[in-house]
Amino acid sequence: MARNQSIYVVADIHGSELCWRKFLNAAKFYGVDTIVVAGDVTGKALVPIVERRDGRVEANIGGRVQAARNEAEVAELEARIRFNGFYPYRCDEQTYNDLDADPERRDRVFTDVMAQTLRDWLKLADERLRGTGIRAILMPGNDDGWYVDDVLGESAEVMNTDGRVIQLPEFQVLGFGPSNRTPWHTQRECDETEIAARLDALMPQVDPDKPVVVVTHVPPHGSTLDVAPKLREDLSIVMEGGETVMVPVGSTAVRAFLERVQPVLSLHGHIHESRGAVHVGRTLAINPGSAYNTGALFGAIVTVSGDKIVSHQLVSG
């Protein structure tokens, strides 16, 4: 009889250090064997903390410019910025103006800050997970630049499953991070035909005698795990009757793959507001959702026994 295996999955923590710290403690807290980030670990905004020529220090938080008068207050600003999943960046007024005027330089700085932050996170993961027997998997998502793979490669404890199949004693994890096309033209996205081809290309690595857990950042199309606000070309949200119009934006290729392969479990993310658990045929598909910017870590605990789901639960840590 197969031994029960518990998996904890989160997605879309987007630079929230608080969520990352909670994630690293989740295995012990929930008593699970494997912890998974199903894509999108890096943040979306760099918040300059600008030291003005007259000595004032200012940052824009929540749409309001807020000032700090001493080092303790600057540290407090930094903590608040990090809490929201953003990256604080101390600079003088000249540097700020240069960044404002030069998009390429801004992108370089932003990337450096994201890479260094991830490096710090992985160092913390290595410290906390070493010798615990807990298996940690982190798959980059469409919002994570290609540099993330290199940084992940530096970790001793955290495995990258994007574009590969990780063999574990009780099951195997097939991972695929890129999404289908989005209105934001993010770094890891491709056409549906390419997603289908790349997923199929992973199948030779799959052991047919062992249960498969599929992790794709983008959820299957039309599964209700993929319902997002409908957008206009200018990225404004379409409203009807005062209500946001929601439409399915998941991947048709991922759906077709799940329907054909029928893994025991598929884990997703990408659409923060589509938290849920549904069945795609015999496959239990889960999107844990995300509320990273409020410090709450949305996740799901799934207990698997062989090729059967014993239980699953959506949690908010």
Binding site: A45, N60, F83, Y96, F110, G222, I237, G242, H272
Partner: protein, 537 residues
């Protein structure tokens, strides 16, 4: 992309960074949930006859003042914890998951009541008035007879059942159809209000008594209905306070935009003003419409109409006329006026039904996802992507409340407003949650855009204290009001059934939570884990 003034935030090309929902949409979202037509109809149908000495306009103003602090509480929460599922989450995280669930359970219990009640209003106040006003304008006795049938409890039940089934089918096919037409429907209703205000101000108050007599007699009633007019009692402050329940019934619910919010938390003006702004907007229309109808009809005749609400046979009618019929009466034989007022008023009568239907369904889904309801409740139809089981449950509950409102069991029926006392308990819990939120979830508050402090005390806590105090006063009104108060039900019903029902909603919510926890634990699912915060260190 830049945010704010002076210093920018640098964002990159990343999924989900959309433009913020605008002030207009936030505003419409809130205003859509407030029923101006029914609000005014009830103020005019009940205050002049049952609250001797009450000032109608002061009652509306008081309701606005009492609703504002609570609207601010929800606005603050929506900036601090956006897109989170509303007060279920606010209370669960700030106080305790059990309290969050019981508050949400309480919401849903009363929301389902107000699925059945507006389903009844559709025939009782909407179709009845429409057909009678048309019947009088066209001198068609058949239409008047048809109108009279729409106030028969069996007909109300029948029409209401069809309406609930109609919306259940619409929602089972997806909510887009409803939302597509909602703006138009709201526009038609608002247009009707504006027309009614204009016609009431322009109508002849000097001729109204004569026109009213003609209208009532044409509808099959007595020939001198205006003789039932009663002289208004001297001003009474206490009655004015109690009469505010009719307007509170409308303006207390301008909080729905707390469910909207962006990924970048901002103290959006649209949100902070959207909720109180929605209240003020609705109040202006209510105020103008009540003032114009009082000006046209006069308080004595309004008192006569209102005072005979439960004995319409005194006028020789099957039911007393609402404001739309009164305004139409000032324009005898004018079919266009009759059609405009009667038709547009119908759109106000059922407006809470779909709104509460959707909100109840969403609450059931949220509970199911948290393990507090069977998983089947959150199962979604593969083809239509709608939660069929949840929709069926809500439709059954809504229909049961319609049955209890129209037919009842034995001598027990649900009165329209007796449930509001219980409903407000959820608001009260949320206001208390606002007091402790900045202390119990300090990091969330400190990093939020509404982390304002006054003399070191979080402004959100101060508003929470004010809202709590105000809501306690509101609860006093809903307890002690001799017409709509919960305490009055003992005399009306002859026992404490309504009070016991109000308490039972809370107790069953708590028992359900505990029961679900035990059942899930046997399956290896620990519900308390759904809400427990993981220590970050």
């Amino acid at each position: 992309m830049a945010v704010g003034d002076g210093v920018k935030v640098f964002t990159r090309q990343a999924t989900g960074l959309t433009k913020e929902i605008g002030t207009l949409d936030t505003f419409v979202y809130n205003v859509n949930n407030q029923n101006i037509g029914i609000g005014v109809a009830f103020v005019l149908l009940f205050v002049p006859g049952f609250y001797a000495g009450a000032d109608l306009l002061q009652g509306i103003l008081l309701a606005v003042v009492l609703a504002l602090p609570m609207a601010l509480v929800y606005a603050f929460f929506s900036a601090a914890i956006p897109r989170s599922g509303g007060d279920y989450v606010y209370i669960s995280r700030s106080l305790h998951p059990l309290l969050g669930f019981v508050a949400s359970w309480n919401w849903v219990a009363w929301m389902t009541v107000y699925i059945g009640v507006p389903a009844a209003y559709f025939a009782q106040y909407g179709l009845s008035g429409l057909f009678r006003v048309l019947g009088v304008a066209t001198q068609n006795a058949g239409l008047v007879d048809l109108a009279n049938r729409f106030v028969d409890p069996v007909w109300i039940l029948g029409v209401g059942t069809i309406l609930i089934l109609f919306f259940a089918v619409i929602f089972a096919k997806g909510t887009r159809t409803y939302f597509r037409i909602q703006n138009t429907v709201f526009g038609i209703g608002l247009f009707g209000i504006a027309i009614a205000i204009g016609l009431a101000f322009l109508g002849s108050s000097a001729d109204f008594a004569h026109n009213f007599d003609t209208y009532v007699s044409s509808a099959g009633g007595i020939s001198n209905a205006s003789s039932l007019a009663v002289d208004p009692a001297p001003y009474d402050a206490q009655q004015t306070i109690f009469s505010s329940t009719l307007a509170q019934f409308i303006v207390l619910f301008a909080i729905t935009s707390s469910f909207l919010g962006g990924e970048v938390r901002r103290a959006r003006v649209s949100q902070l003003l959207g909720m109180p702004g929605g209240i003020l907007f609705v109040s202006v229309f209510m105020f103008l419409l009540v003032a114009s109808v009082v000006e046209l009809v006069g308080l004595p005749i309004l008192g006569g109409v209102s005072g005979n609400y439960f004995s319409p046979d005194a006028l020789g009618l099957a039911f007393v006329p609402s404001y739309n019929e009164l305004v139409a009466a000032a324009y005898p034989g004018n079919l266009i006026v009759a059609l405009l007022l009667g038709f547009t008023f119908v759109f106000w009568t059922y407006v809470w039904l779909p709104i509460n239907f959707i909100a109840s369904t969403r609450a059931l889904l949220a509970w199911s996802l948290d393990g507090l309801m069977p998983r089947r409740v959150s199962e979604v139809n593969e083809e239509r992507h709608t939660p069929t089981v949840a929709i069926v449950i809500v439709a059954i509950l809504g229909w049961f409340s319609l049955f209890m409102y129209t037919i009842g069991i034995g001598d027990f029926k649900l009165n329209t407003l007796y449930g509001i006392f219980g409903w407000i308990l959820s608001f009260l819990t949320c206001a208390i949650a606002a007091i402790v939120f900045p202390y119990r979830l300090k990091a969330v508050f400190d990093s939020s855009p509404v982390n304002w402090r006054i003399a070191g005390i979080p402004l959100m806590s101060i508003i929470g204290v004010i809202a709590t105090a105000v809501l306690l006063f509101v609860e006093y009104i809903w307890w002690a009001d001799p017409v709509n108060g919960l305490d009055s039900t003992t005399a009306v019903l002859g026992d404490d059934r309504m009070k016991l029902l109000t308490a039972a909603v809370l107790v069953t919510g708590a028992l359900w939570y505990v029961g679900a926890r035990i059942i899930q634990a046997r399956r290896g699912v620990h519900i308390e884990r759904a809400f427990a915060e993981i220590p970050p260190e």
